[in-house]
Symmetry: C2
Subunit: 143 residues, 2 copies
Amino acid sequence: MVTNNLNVTNGRTAMSTQKIYAPPPGTNWSVLSSTCPSRTSLARIANKWTAMVITVLEDGPLRFGDLRTALEGISGKVLTDTLRDLERDGMITRQSYAEIPPRVEYELTPLGRTLHGPLSVLCRWAEEHIPEVLAARDAYDER
Amino acid sequence: MVTNNLNVTNGRTAMSTQKIYAPPPGTNWSVLSSTCPSRTSLARIANKWTAMVITVLEDGPLRFGDLRTALEGISGKVLTDTLRDLERDGMITRQSYAEIPPRVEYELTPLGRTLHGPLSVLCRWAEEHIPEVLAARDAYDER
DNA sequence: CTGAATCCCATATGATACTG
DNA sequence: CAGTATCATATGGGATTCAG
């Protein structure tokens, strides 16, 4: 199941969006506030699989199996859950074709595309700084 | 306990770092590869609490209690675990003062500081796009 | 055969009580 | 104050089974 692990009362319609999410007077209304809905959003995007999915989808739509191959090692369930969460949050679209064998394609939405830059930066950071991180781990564990 | 949830054989010393993490010939050696150590790194940084901790620490060292206050809603245990993981990976330093009452300060390392930009971008993205995300959720759930 | 739901376990996270 | 210990629960994730 796709659960919403967040301690926030959902807003209602898209129309009233701006009003609902305005900070109460005198409140620091940021991702740091436990009552701010943006935390739900941060939890979704600051996530290992999300980062990889968005990064991989940049080059165009991919079907389920291709994503699974690209994201070496992800299980079917986790990929399904991740994709559904991303679809729900408006980051990707899901296009199912009535064919045999079945074909389902996932594609970045404009919103999702705005996330690609930031997330790919993160992926690159991870790749570029492994040596330093692993060295730090070695040093730390040696004590 | 602080666990390492990763499927990677640790490298050995900092000296041999460059050799060990060179990709086997013909391999796409990226964060997408399940055998690439950078995944361990990505898992740590692409994380809700990590993003918030690094973001908050940018303005200078903070002590445990201040961090806990700033990161509204985090439990002591989780904050401890998160900080220890970040320290192990060389992102922050921990300075303990022999005073009563005790004082412990956490500070970004140069390595950690290189992460601040990318992660704060993510936090800001979350803050700026909540309306769109919540609207998308509304639309999705309405079906 | 592809995509995804189900079952089940490991881990992550959180609340609470306790200590130097 | 800054943790640790313990316990309870939520979530992540893999193996398997199911559906079209």
